[in-house]
């Protein structure tokens, strides 16, 4: 399939823009349903089951409810910033999908710096969230937004370092090339990188256990305390669109993207995205929210050194020639390295005083 499929620059642009918007909105609905039902079952509940068969229409009901609600803007809010924030937060979540291949060559823009673009664009949401916190003129909103900025600044580093390991093996920054390079999914060649990316990714998009910016028990609803109606719906959408985006990136980088037997490639892609999202729901249900000092400590004392070690090991392996006929031996070696490192560093992490600021 030629890279400019389905032919013609503008047709290509129009087709994929429509596909991406449709894909994101549908996936968000699926994600909301999966999360609420799955989380319910994990907590020994049923989850929403009243709207439509098996509660399938629950996301629609949620959307209608939230659309019909009154839009309240605080009297002392910075009106323009308050209004712009949801839009600025939402746009990057959509923009990430521009470089994610749905099947071979089927992507809006096959940038040769694809993953760099993803890293650059995904951080922009934080600006939107900080604008929301600042524009609301509410102490809780501002606290939530500050926490988000702190988390993103810290977790961006291990996130990018984990990506670098993948890029070293694949030898390309283009996401399509990275998928093509995965004869063995990189989750096996880079198990430690996958763990680091997953943890840092969850923190980056503020899913629990790292959802400190909207910690209900401490700061009401964080940055979207003062939002209601359609603008709140936008933030809700951002939350899930980002989760889907991170799932899609993990799928592309570590799980072999659209590659897989029997099923058509785009279906494999969607299945894998939902698998990763399910893992996020699973961790969310299991783990309690951590404190802000633990959040920082986890980034700087655990993820950051681990990602540096991971990078060094990967670099040595790639420099040493990466014997393709011995790939499965490398898989076993890398998994052993991961287990050993995680165990020893968890021990060391407690020695470092984990959440405490002084060592």
């Amino acid at each position: 399939m030629p890279p400019d499929w389905p032919g013609g620059f503008w047709w290509h642009w129009l087709f994929f823009t429509v596909v991406i918007i449709g894909f994101v909105l549908t996936m968000v609905m699926g994600a909301i349903y999966l999360e609420r039902r799955g989380m319910g079952r994990m907590q020994s509940r049923l989850g929403p089951n009243r709207t439509g068969p098996f509660g399938l229409l629950q996301p629609v009901a949620d959307a209608i409810k939230v659309l019909l609600k009154e839009n309240i803007v605080p009297f002392t809010a910075d009106k323009v910033v308050h209004w712009l924030a949801p839009v600025i937060a939402f746009a990057p979540a959509l923009m990430i999908f521009a470089v994610i291949p749905f099947q071979n060559g089927a992507l809006l823009a096959d940038l040769n710096i694809g993953i760099l673009y993803v890293v650059a664009v995904s951080s922009i949401s934080t600006v939107g969230i900080f604008m929301a916190g600042w524009g609301s003129n509410n102490k809780y909103s501002l606290l939530g937004a500050m926490r988000n900025v702190a988390a993103v600044v810290s977790y961006e580093i291990p996130l990018v370092l984990a990506i670098v390991g993948v890029v070293l093996i694949a030898g390309s920054l283009s996401l399509n090339q990275i998928v093509l390079a995965q004869d063995i999914p990189f989750i096996l060649l880079q198990p430690l990188g996958f763990l680091l990316f997953f943890a840092a990714g969850c923190a980056e998009i503020n899913r629990s256990p790292f959802d400190l910016m909207e910690a209900d028990s401490e700061i009401v609803a964080g940055f979207h305390t003062e939002y209601s109606g359609m603008k709140f719906a936008m933030f809700y959408l951002v939350e899930y669109a980002e989760a889907i985006a991170i799932s899609a990136i993990i799928t592309t980088l570590f799980l072999g993207g659209w590659r897989g037997p029997l099923l058509p490639p785009w279906l494999w892609f969607i299945v894998k995205v939902f698998l990763v999202f399910f893992a996020m729901v699973w961790t969310r249900t299991t783990l309690p929210r951590i404190r802000i000092d633990q959040l920082m400590a986890f980034a700087w004392k655990f993820l950051f050194p681990m990602s540096l070690i991971n990078l060094v090991i990967t670099a040595i392996q790639v420099l040493a020639g990466w014997p393709t006929e011995l790939a499965w031996a490398m898989v076993i070696i890398n998994i052993a390295i991961m287990v050993g490192l995680v165990l020893t560093w968890s021990r060391f992490f407690f020695r470092l005083g984990w959440g405490r600021l002084e060592v």
Partner: protein, 165 residues
């Protein structure tokens, strides 16, 4: 060797949640599904046996909430007391069951029903006619083991799981 500090706790937690995902949810969808309550359930109303009652008023004396009111008049022809007024304010009742235990003639039972919410406070007062036994108003097995045998066994949440389509 302690494994608690090697991230084992997270793995344990993850297995717990995944096990919950695979088993039945312990939820009762109330209006459609009703569980059988305990056979010795202390329900929110009293059942009164008019024939056995002698009007001695022990129940009213035992009730520390003062929820039971009883008024009798002597019936000389039958050589007994006629119960003229017997009413219970179930709004005051705390379902302690002392009246049932105190009754020397086994004329008072606790009810088995639990849907006794009312719109007005006055409707909470059970008069004499409201307290008689009817097939809908079942008697609880509290303090009466032979009554308990007639009631269905209590269902537990873990047994009862069917999702409504």
């Amino acid at each position: 060797m302690k494994f608690e500090r090697y991230g084992i706790g997270i793995a344990k937690g993850l297995t717990v949640t995944i096990r919950h995902l695979l088993r039945h949810p312990t939820v009762n969808q109330y209006p459609e599904q009703r569980l059988n309550v305990s056979r010795r359930f202390r329900g929110n109303e009293l059942i009164w046996n008019r024939e056995r009652c002698t009007g001695c008023g022990t129940c009213a004396k035992t009730c520390h909430q003062g929820a039971i009111e009883i008024a009798t008049s002597p019936d000389a022809t039958n050589n007994k007391y006629e119960v003229e007024k017997y009413q219970v304010d179930t709004g005051y009742c705390i379902q302690c069951g002392l009246c049932v235990e105190a009754c020397p003639y086994d004329a008072l039972y606790l009810g088995y029903s639990y849907e006794c919410a009312r719109y007005r406070r006055g409707e909470l007062v059970q008069s004499k006619e409201d307290m008689l036994y009817t097939p809908e108003r079942k008697v609880s097995g509290y303090f009466f083991p032979e009554q308990a045998q007639k009631l269905p066994k209590q269902t537990l949440l873990i047994e009862k799981v069917v999702e409504k389509k």
